[in-house]
Amino acid sequence: MRSLITILFIAILSGITTFFLPWWMVAVCTFLVVVTMRQRPGQGFRAGFAGIALLWLIVILCRDLPNEHILSARMAKVFGLPNSGLFILVNILLGGLVGGLAGWSGGVMFKYFRK
């Protein structure tokens, strides 16, 4: 339950923040949420990964579906990928990785500094 809430917090806070501030705020938000939610390093990585991947997946679907994949097909080609699905997957994994690393950092930080 707690990890689910953490994931949602990460996704929502990152989404709102990056609407106004640069993209790397997703890392800052994830880090802060993980520390606040007192997650362990492993939990932090998973929550961060899931939170940002979820956020990016939702935003991408909201843009890609009404666009009928025009942009994603072109971007896939820019990156030398065979189709838009794979491009979206790579895109989401990248977000997940940034979130995961930030969550892990938060978890490690919390673990060592709580006392």
Binding site: W24, W56, N67, L71, G95, V108, M109
Partner: protein, 791 residues
């Protein structure tokens, strides 16, 4: 230690994020680009996106309205001239900002700033040509006239208001990929864009090759191979046109020893073509079914995305004009209004001449027996990720020294040459467009185009009163015979450009007896025109257009569509029989005969599916090459006698061609190899072999359309070459109701993520047209989307 371990993941994460936020080598900043909220995904316009807007534009004087039709063509209605150009600027920026930015950067030699060092040679070339200098001169003229100044100021303000509201998320996709951002627009950028067109259409360096050729050949040979007037040209101005008496006297040419410079092999060091044609024609009522004149134009230019053109209708109480505009310039360039229609093709008279400079010291050169100082202009080229590059360009009495030891000319030329170019003179083409857009009759049309100095254009006219006309318009010089044909001696004052020819004396024709007028970059006039000129004329398309128009007596717009998309090759029809006649089939190998068989019964049409077209084009290209290469392949730019001249000499069996029996077989043998390769790759069909492509300005394949199924080539009316072709096909019937059709290979939106990015491409390929919804002054456009704009 504990603390260090605790901080380590944070440090690693920070480094990772930092790397994703910075461009690495050729890669853009991946994190920024792939952020779904602000990155590339922001350019994914929903296919059913509503472009409806309530806008407040603070620079506006009164309320204005824009109604977009189904094709996203804006019909802009404003109360004042200021407002219409303000809104046009805003709209151009809204749909085409990156393109405008990029093209003006290219004009100014500022590509290195955004693309890095690889563009240095290009940027230096632009600076040395004096592109910025020329734009500055023109800007002075434009800002000296209140009409063009107000127009430009309003236009720039509209663009800048749009830019001021942008954040990173709203940047066009290409900015995110290339990692730079929009900068404020200024009037000089519009001037630069016009110079970019001038350079595209008049920026030739043939004089250098001609200088080498003149020393290589006897005068008789030179005239035979490189005649200054093509025999049998169906000239732009019909030959029965009465030419008015010239007001200027013919100037005596200085003696050869003074006029010319010679280029020796020591003037070159080892170093590392084809023109842009266009067609326009107009039929008077005597030749049309409706008895109303029909005007047709298809300017051939580089085929790019976002397209060079942007369709628009502009409506104010004093003007109602429809046509294509250039994103980056206010007004309509080619189009029609309530009363008149007009179109342009390139005029190709030579307005760019070269002078050999004799340096006397590092800072001085010889002129008229004196030692003159250069005016130095330091060009600072900013390079992304590198220190600035400084290039000092010497300006002489002739103009900038374009080539020298530090920047080589064609063929590795190192002798210092200065260039005198009409595009360096102050001129106000924007005023010309302004007046043209407002013209209601022939007199006003003529008054308008007389402000158009460079690039010289064949300006075609048709009005609702039933008149047609054509002007070979531009600012030209009263030259002595051969002046500027070769590189001139820059140390003597007798070679300078002298008087300007009064524009009213430019060649023109009004309601000719033949009932039509046509230009397709052919020779402008016959020998009755009193002023001497040279140029880079093409004849094939003109021959074909004249052939077809002569046969039409009740032409319809459909006939015009057919002619604009005509792929009949006059070259093939005349030269192929000669080629076949010289082939001895007995000496051919089986595979050579196989390709030859394709040509049997061919109708000389370069249709997309034709294999015969491919066989002919490949064979002809080989033959043309082997005829001339031994003698001329060392000439800078490889300037060979023109295909037209080559064809004529072949038909006449002129000894200058060599032994055609041998050449025909030899070239067929070479062609067979290329054809076999094409066949193996499954590309023997003409459209596949030639590969007409419409490429994004960055050349990114993901944003481009290669391999279009379209016929034609440079020698046919539908001149779809590999990356050049008809950039805007327009047919306007000027009857009681104006009936207009048009199509360009692109779409109204510059955004590769929009469904409007290349909407018209398919129609363009198939030779189909969009009906243009020209809204009358009193009427309202049926609109898909509306912008209500308040001041």
């Amino acid at each position: 230690m504990r603390k260090l371990v605790a901080i380590l993941p944070l440090v690693l994460t920070t480094i990772f994020v930092y790397l994703l936020d910075k461009p690495l080598g050729k890669l853009p900043a991946i994190g920024r680009l792939l952020d779904p909220v602000n990155g590339c995904w922001a350019s994914a316009d929903p296919v059913n996106k509503s472009f409806d807007l309530q806008l407040q534009l603070p620079g506006l004087k009164q309320a204005a309205e824009v109604r977009f039709d189904d094709r996203l063509v804006p019909h802009i209605k404003a109360a004042t001239e200021h407002d219409i150009y303000y809104v046009q600027g805003y709209i151009h920026a809204y749909f085409r900002l990156w393109q405008m930015d990029m093209q003006t950067r290219a004009a100014a030699g500022r590509i290195c700033e955004v693309a890095g060092e690889k563009a240095l040679k290009f940027d230096r070339g632009q600076r040395r040509k004096g592109m910025v200098y020329g734009a500055e001169q023109s800007l002075k003229a434009m800002e000296a006239d209140p009409r063009s100044k107000d127009m430009l100021d309003a236009y720039s303000a509209g663009i800048n208001y749009y830019i001021s509201q942008l954040n990173y998320r709203a940047y066009p996709l290409e900015y995110k990929l290339m990692g730079f951002k929009p900068e404020a627009w200024t009037n000089i950028k519009t001037a630069l864009l016009l110079k970019y067109m001038a350079d595209d259409l008049t920026g030739y360096t043939e004089d250098i090759a001609m200088t080498v050729l003149r020393d290589m050949l006897s005068p008789a040979e030179f005239d035979l191979l490189y005649p200054s007037r093509m025999e049998g040209s169906a000239t732009v101005i019909p030959s029965d046109t009465v030419i008015q008496h010239p007001s200027l006297k013919t100037l005596a040419a200085p003696p050869d020893s003074i006029a010319w410079t010679h280029l020796q092999t020591t003037d070159f060091i080892q170093d590392e073509t084809d023109g842009k044609g266009s067609n326009n024609w107009a039929l008077s009522g005597s030749r049309t079914l409706s008895r109303a004149p029909i005007l047709c134009n298809d300017p051939h230019l580089g085929l790019n995305l976002p397209s060079l053109w942007y369709e628009v209708q502009l409506q104010t109480p004093s003007m109602n004009v429809y046509g294509v505009s250039l994103p980056g310039a206010p007004g309509v360039v080619i189009g029609f209004n309530d009363s008149i229609s007009w179109g342009f093709t390139n005029n190709y008279r030579d307005v760019k001449d070269f002078y050999a400079i004799e340096p006397m010291s590092a800072n001085t050169y010889r002129f008229s027996g004196k030692e003159l100082r250069y005016n130095d202009r330091v060009e600072v080229i900013k390079i992304k990720g590198r220190p600035d590059f400084k290039d000092t360009v010497h300006y002489t009495i002739h103009g900038p020294v374009i080539y020298d030891q530090s920047f080589h000319g064609p063929g590795g030329l190192i002798k210092p040459l200065a260039v005198t170019w009409m595009a360096h003179k102050p001129s106000n083409e924007i005023l010309s467009l302004y007046l043209l857009n407002h013209s209601n009759n022939y007199v006003q049309f003529v008054d308008a185009i007389h402000h158009f100095n460079c690039p010289g254009q064949n300006m075609l006219y048709a009005d609702r009163a039933g008149n047609i006309a054509l002007w070979g318009q531009g600012q030209f010089i009263n030259k002595w015979k051969d002046q500027g044909k070769y590189v001139m001696n820059g140390a003597d004052s007798s070679t300078l450009w002298k008087e300007l020819i009064p524009v009213a004396e430019n060649p023109h024709a009004f309601n000719p007896a033949q009932g039509y007028l046509a230009s397709a970059n052919q020779t402008v006039t016959d020998s009755t025109y009193p002023y001497w000129y040279n140029g880079y004329f093409n004849e094939f398309r003109s021959w074909r257009i004249n052939q077809v128009l002569r046969s039409l007596h009740s032409a319809t717009v459909e006939d015009m569509f057919k002619l604009q998309n005509d792929v009949y090759s006059i070259l093939a029809s005349k030269v192929l029989p000669v080629m076949l006649q010289h082939i001895n089939v007995d000496v051919l190998k089986l595979k050579e005969r196989k390709y030859l068989d394709f040509l049997g019964g061919w109708d000389y049409r370069l249709t997309p599916d034709s294999k015969a077209a491919t066989v002919f084009q490949v064979w002809w290209t080989e033959l043309y090459e082997v005829i001339w290469k031994n003698r001329f392949s060392k000439v800078p730019d490889k300037i060979y006698p023109s295909p037209e001249r080559t064809m004529q000499l072949m038909i006449d069996n002129n000894p200058a061609i060599g032994n055609l029996n041998d050449l025909a077989v030899y070239s067929l043998r070479n062609a067979t190899d290329s054809l076999a390769k094409l066949e193996k790759a499954g590309k023997l069909e003409w459209s596949k072999a030639k590969n007409t492509s419409v490429n994004h300005l960055t050349k990114l394949p993901a944003f481009s359309y290669p391999d279009l199924k379209i016929g034609g080539w440079g020698n046919t009316v539908n001149a779809a070459k590999s990356v050049h072709g008809p950039s805007w096909r327009m047919v306007v019937q000027m009857g009681r109701q104006i009936e207009a059709y048009g199509v360009y290979p692109g779409g109204q939106s510059g955004n590769p993520g929009s469904k409007y990015y290349a909407t018209f491409l398919d129609k363009w390929v198939k030779g189909e047209y969009n009906k243009l919804s020209f809204v009358p002054r009193s009427g309202k456009a049926t609109s898909r989307f509306t912008w209500n704009i308040q001041p």
